[in-house]
Every structure is written in structure tokens, then in C-alpha cells.
Symmetry: C2
Subunit: 439 residues, 2 copies
């Protein structure tokens, strides 16, 4: 690594693959102008790591560079002992703010908000408000945004909001109570961050005030924080859909042991579930012994159920996460997925039928009863695909009804569920269709 | 539906499940105060639908309510004939803006930007700039944000940016060239929206200027547009990971035929791939006939490979989408996933070993050679899980190297790939371990 010529962009690019020593060296090699922006642009866990790796005497200016909500995030990422040390480095005022923020769950509105917003009084004039904003801008102390100012009453309750544009567009002698917007959308401090993101996205807001149970305003969540939330929640959902626990850190920064732990749990659970296929198969051992040809289609049939189930569960989970589908829609979805499943099953059944008959004509692969075998496979496919589609679409509803995250209804989970029932469907169809011939 | 008592929140809630007529009735039942916000809060495709469903004489005020970038989005969602009609309803100036925006791909920076931003000159004083902003605020014509103003030279090139806060904090007689930030991050007009989101998220920006190939500023993309982009891109990736084409519309608003089309393509392709398992199995037909017990573990073994592959591919695809992992990291990832795969394989192998030996002790399920069968299954599990993990992690690299979207390396795709090779591994291990006994 040539440290001399490193720009902040270069460092950002190679950051994930550097060792701790290299990171610190790279960090110190940046110019003074670059290093502040670079530090502010890091994720909270990277900031915590940089602080951890630098000599403790150097930490103070860096932690003080952060806004209170970002400093709180860094403290969340640090060990309890480090957290105490870091908080002690803050000035009195920031320390109180950070401690208040740390009392919230990291993924609640309260954990996401900044306590630094502009407060105005309803009986101020527009001119007085502009003067006040100007003083805030010139003061050293930073607020999260100057674009919106919140008009609070004596009990800190939100009476209205004015944007900088509203102030500029209004005559200077009007009262804020006359020019403010009174319909303010707020979120409670314990609202989950995913729901906050939903509110902000739905109403196209740039910021939303956070209020406590008595309606007092505690802070604001701005839309730029929401971008991170949306990305993070999507990552968690995607990882759960892939059949594992969500990683808490970027892939390359997750230790190999932590990663194996996150993956082994679900993999073992799915394996235990999948063992039922061995039991199901041994129940039909005699049939297989009599007609080995039946065994040949087992992977094809159960995977078709798994794949169609994976499609259905993925669609429903994402629609739930986006608020497009709620628990009350389940019956509509059963009907839709029943049609979809039957249609998809019929398509695969036709392909399967053609494949078996063509192979038989060309290579005589499947013996004297190939037509019946083709019929058994095709019929089973219709059943298995329809069943996979229905179970895949309903599993997220059941899991959510039980109070868990529907994203746990991962594609592998559905596939495992459908494998066992797929075998039962297949062998029962085969018993009926092949009775008196092979079985 | 009781239309009398409907609020905009209620309507928003039930919107996805309403018929076209109910939507229009609901829309008209809102009060004048509510209906504007409600319309502006709809997605572009819903706005297009509302416009389509209302009598054409009523459309003009609604399309004119939209910002040019939003009006362009609505036109994108309309049919070419409707598009012409809608554009004709705009005033001269907006029509030019919308036509310019429609020339860009919908998912490029140019298609996402607003052409309405505040332009300043470097030789203006701070006071003059504030007066100009105030006039902009009071003018009827709206700009996307007044918070940032862009300082352009005579060729419309970005020389700097000032925030409203900078202006307020600076003495009134200073020139903008002295107070502006000269390090402006810009994005090219043809940059993909996912990359624009990445730039905005990485640098924690509230807005980013879009420039053409000669560096002339064409518009700005603001962070609130990015929230929608991030959600939409995550949805597309999740649907592809579920083994289907991405839907273009919300689940409940997608017609049943369109949905079957989106799902049938991949499902059929996977089915054709999975047919290779029938060929692979028939290659080992003789072994199965001699030792039917081997067939019992086929679903267990191939699904373990599929599940571990699904985990690996999901992790890598998401890390790629977030820019945490690039093509050049492939060798690092092979090494990581090799260790992870061996460890996970060993865990499943131990569970499998215990299961077979315990069942044998309790029920004598697996006959005289149960120990060897257990050994064959366990050894195969190590091989299949390791192979599944490696192929699952490398497939996104291969697909991306070929120039396709790595998210197409869906969990079902990987499972299908691994199923065939899993069978080959299993039967070959069994041939070696059971030689001279069962086989």
C-alpha cells in the first residue's frame, strides 16, 4: 500500500479489505482537509473501530466531531467498557444528549433521531424567526437541519412546522401561528425504524418529529438517516430470505466464526426438518424397490415444489415489508396463488410429460410403463407446484400471526417444508396411477 | 365502502385492494384540502392510473400539480398515446422540461433529477444571494429545494455549492466565490440510479448535482427520491433472489397473467435444469436397485447443498449490491467460503451421523451396513455442503463477469446447479464406502 499518494476516495475503496494496522496508517496518511470528511463518511461500526484502534489520547477530537445521534450510534457499536470511555470524552451537554439517546433501542425512532432541531414559538413574528435562524447558523453549535423549524407550545408539544421557504415567502410581521402548517405528521419515540421509514417514504417527508407518549417533541429523524435504514432493513430481509440470521456487519468485516454461527443455526434446523424426507422415503421403500424408476424423479419433483414455493414466499414477504399486503389480505392471496400455482404446475407438467415421452421414444429409458410414469410425474407436478405455491404464500402470514418476522419464512425454509409433502403427494399419486402395473 | 366518512389515511390504506371505479369514487370523496396531498403521495403508477380513469377534461389541474420530474415519471407509466395527451396538458415551460427528462432512461440519474434548482453566480454577494433566494421563495414557480444553491459559471459548469446555512452564517458583503464549497460531488446524467443512491448514501448528501458529458449542470437528485430508489432496487433484487423476474408493479396490482409470465420463465428454466437430476439418477439406477436405502437420503443430501449454496449466494449478492465486495475480491471469498463450507458441512455431517446411528439402534431402519451408510452420508454431506457453498458464492461473480445482474444467481438457481453435482458426489462417495458390502 503506497500511503503517500492515497486520497480519501482511494482509502474508502480499499477500506473493507485492510487490516487494522493498515486502516490506521491509511487514516493518518490523509490530509487534514480530507480526514474529517472521511471519518464522517464511515459507518458507525467503522468509526467505532477507528476510535478503538487509535491511541486513547487522540480520540477526543474525533468523537466530538460527531453529531449526538451519530456519537450515540458509535457508542452502541462499542463494548460497554469502551462506551463509558467514549462518553466521558464528550462535553457536558453532548454527554447528556448521547446518554438520553442510548436509552432508546438502536432501531427505534428514538435511537435514530437527532435531539438538535430548531424550536420556535407560535407568537414569534416571521422576521424574529429569521433573525433567530440566522443566529443559529452563525453559532458554533450545529443543528441537524435549519430547513425546518418546529413551533412548540409551552409543554414542548408540536403546534406546527415552518420551512425556511415558508418564512422567506411570508411578510415579516406575520406571526408564526398564522403561517405555520398545523397538520404535522409525527412518530412516537418507540416506533420501529422500518415503520418510520414507511411514514417518511409514504408522505415524501424530508424530516419527521419524534414525540414521547405525552406528545412532547424529543427530536427529528431526517430522510438521509432513512436511506441507511432502508438499505440496512433490506439487507437483513435478504439475508433472512437466504436462510440464515442477518449479519450485523458487512460481509468482509464479519469474522469467520461469527459468520459460521449465523449460518449454522438455520442450516442445522433445516437439516433436521429435511430429515423427515428420509423418514417419508423409507415409508415408501417398498415401492421404490419395486419401481426404481420412481426414485429418479424425486429430486425433480421436490425441487419444483421448492422453487415455486420460494417465488411465492419471496413475493409475499416483500409485499408485506413494503406495506402492500397485510394480514387481512390472506384470503385474496390464497385465491390468486391458487390460480398461479395451478397454471405454473400445468406448465411444468407439460414440459415434464414431453421430456419423458421424448426420452422414451429416443432411448427407451423408462421401460414398458413409460406412459403411466409420465402421467404420474405430470399429475404430481401439478399437485406439488400448487401446494408449494400455496404454502409458500401462506407461511409468511402464519409466521407474522405468531408474532415473528415474516422474513424468516425463507426460501430454504419453504423448500424444506414442501419437500416432505411433495414426496407424500408424489408417491400417493404414483400408487394410484401405477396400481396393477409397476406397483 | 362508506365514502362519506373516508379520510385520506383510510383511502391510502385500502387503495391497493380497490377496483378502478372504487378508487375514482374514493378519490372524489376526499375534501379539497386532503385530495391534493393524497394525489401527490401516490406512486407514479397510481397517479397515472388515477389520471387515466378520470374524464379527460379534469386531468389538466392534476398533471400540472406535479413537479416536472414527477410528471415525467407519470408519463413513463402511461401508454405512448396517453403520454402525448398528458404532455399536451402542461404549460409550455413544463412541457419542455418534461420532454427533456423523458429523453433519459427512467432509472438513470437524468430520469431521476429535477431540472428546478437554484442557480447563483460566483461574483454575487451573500446579501444579493439571500435576496434572490427570497424572491424565489415568493415566486409562484417552485424549485425542488431552496436549501442548496449551486454556483455556476458562464458555461453552466458547477463551481461550488452553498447551503442556506452557509449564506446565513457569512457576512453579507462577501462574494459567493469566497464562501462556497468548491469540492462538489456530481454524478453524470447517465449514471444508474443504484449508483446515484450509493454516492448519496456514502457521502451523506441531501442532494447531488447531475452534469452532462461536458460538465454542464442539468439538475439535482435529492435524497427523498433516493429512498424510493433504494426500496425499489431492493425489491427487484429480492424478487430475483426468489427465482423470478422482478415485477414492475406492487404485488396486488400485478395482473394474474403478468405474474404467471414473470414466474413461469425462471420456473421452467430451473425445471429444465433440474431434469439433469433425473438423468444423473438414472445413471446410478443399478446402485439404487441394489441398495434402495441409498435413495432415502437423496432429498436430504441435495437440499443441504442447496441450502448452504443459497446462504452463500445471498450474502455475496447483497454485499455486491452494497459495494462491499467487488470482482477483484473473488479469491478472498473463495478462501473464506471454503472454510465456512467445510465447517458447516462438518456440523451437518455430525448431526446426520448421530441421526442414522440412533435410528439404527432404536428401530434397525438401515439394515446390516448402517455404519457404512452413515459414513457415506456424512462424508457426502461435507462434500456437498462445501461444494454448495463455493458454487453459491462464485456464481454471482461469474454472472457479473459475463455482464449480467448478479442477483439472477437466485437461491433456486444455485440449488438446481448444486442438486446435480450433489447427486454425483453422493453416489460416488457411496460407491467407494459401500464397495464390497451393499454395492
Amino acid at each position: 500500500m503506497s500511503e503517500e499518494s492515497l486520497t480519501d476516495e482511494d482509502l474508502r475503496e480499499i477500506w473493507p479489505v485492510l487490516s487494522a494496522d493498515e486502516r490506521l496508517a491509511g487514516f493518518h496518511s490523509l490530509s487534514r482537509a480530507e480526514v474529517h470528511d472521511f471519518f464522517l463518511g464511515l459507518s458507525a461500526s467503522d468509526q467505532a473501530q477507528v476510535l478503538r484502534e487509535m491511541p486513547s489520547a487522540e480520540r477526543r477530537p474525533w468523537i466530538r466531531l460527531l453529531e449526538p445521534d451519530d456519537a450515540a450510534d458509535v457508542c452502541q457499536k462499542a463494548s460497554p467498557a469502551e462506551r463509558e470511555e467514549l462518553i466521558a470524552l464528550l462535553d457536558e451537554h453532548a454527554r447528556r444528549e448521547v446518554n438520553a439517546l442510548l436509552a432508546y433501542a438502536e432501531d427505534a425512532a428514538g435511537g435514530l433521531m437527532s435531539p438538535r432541531f430548531v424550536r420556535l414559538r407560535p407568537d414569534m413574528t416571521v422576521d424574529a424567526a429569521i433573525r433567530y435562524l440566522r443566529r443559529q447558523a452563525q453559532a458554533q453549535r450545529r443543528v441537524e437541519t435549519l430547513y425546518y423549524a418546529y413551533v412548540l407550545d409551552g409543554e414542548q408539544r408540536v403546534r406546527g412546522v415552518v420551512s425556511f421557504r415558508d418564512l422567506f415567502a411570508s411578510p415579516g410581521d406575520r406571526l408564526l401561528s398564522e403561517v405555520m402548517h398545523e397538520q404535522v405528521i409525527t412518530v412516537p419515540e418507540d416506533m420501529d425504524q422500518e415503520a418510520v421509514a414507511e411514514v417518511i417514504a409514504r408522505h415524501d417527508l424530508n424530516a419527521v418529529p419524534v414525540v414521547d407518549s405525552e406528545g412532547r417533541m424529543k427530536g427529528i429523524v431526517t430522510v438521509d438517516d432513512i436511506v441507511d435504514v432502508v438499505r440496512q432493513e433490506a439487507t437483513e430481509d435478504i439475508q433472512k430470505l437466504g436462510g440464515m440470521e442477518a449479519l450485523d456487519t458487512p460481509y468482509l468485516q464479519t469474522g469467520i466464526l461469527a459468520m459460521i454461527r449465523k449460518r449454522a443455526g438455520w442450516l442445522s434446523a433445516l437439516f433436521l426438518g429435511e430429515m423427515l424426507t428420509a423418514s417419508a422415503m423409507s415409508y415408501y421403500e417398498e415401492e421404490i424397490a419395486r419401481a426404481v424408476v420412481l426414485a429418479l424423479f424425486v429430486p425433480l419433483i421436490i425441487s419444483s415444489g421448492g422453487n415455486s414455493g420460494s417465488q411465492a414466499t419471496t413475493l409475499i414477504i416483500r409485499a408485506m415489508a413494503l406495506g402492500e399486503v397485510g394480514l387481512r389480505d390472506w384470503w385474496r392471496i390464497v385465491r390468486r396463488e391458487l390460480s398461479a400455482g395451478l397454471a405454473l404446475g400445468a406448465i411444468l407438467a407439460s414440459i415434464g410429460l414431453v421430456r419423458i415421452l421424448v426420452w422414451q421414444a429416443l432411448f427407451h429409458t423408462y421401460g414398458a410403463h413409460s406412459a403411466r410414469i409420465a402421467a404420474a410425474v405430470s399429475l404430481s407436478l401439478v399437485g406439488v407446484v400448487t401446494w408449494g405455491t400455496i404454502s409458500g404464500s401462506m407461511l409468511p402470514f402464519i409466521i407474522r400471526r405468531l408474532g415473528f418476522d415474516p422474513a424468516s419464512a425463507s426460501a430454504p425454509f419453504v423448500a424444506t417444508l414442501v419437500d416432505v409433502s411433495g414426496l407424500v403427494i408424489y408417491f400417493n399419486v404414483a400408487q394410484v396411477v401405477l396400481r396393477g402395473t409397476l406397483l
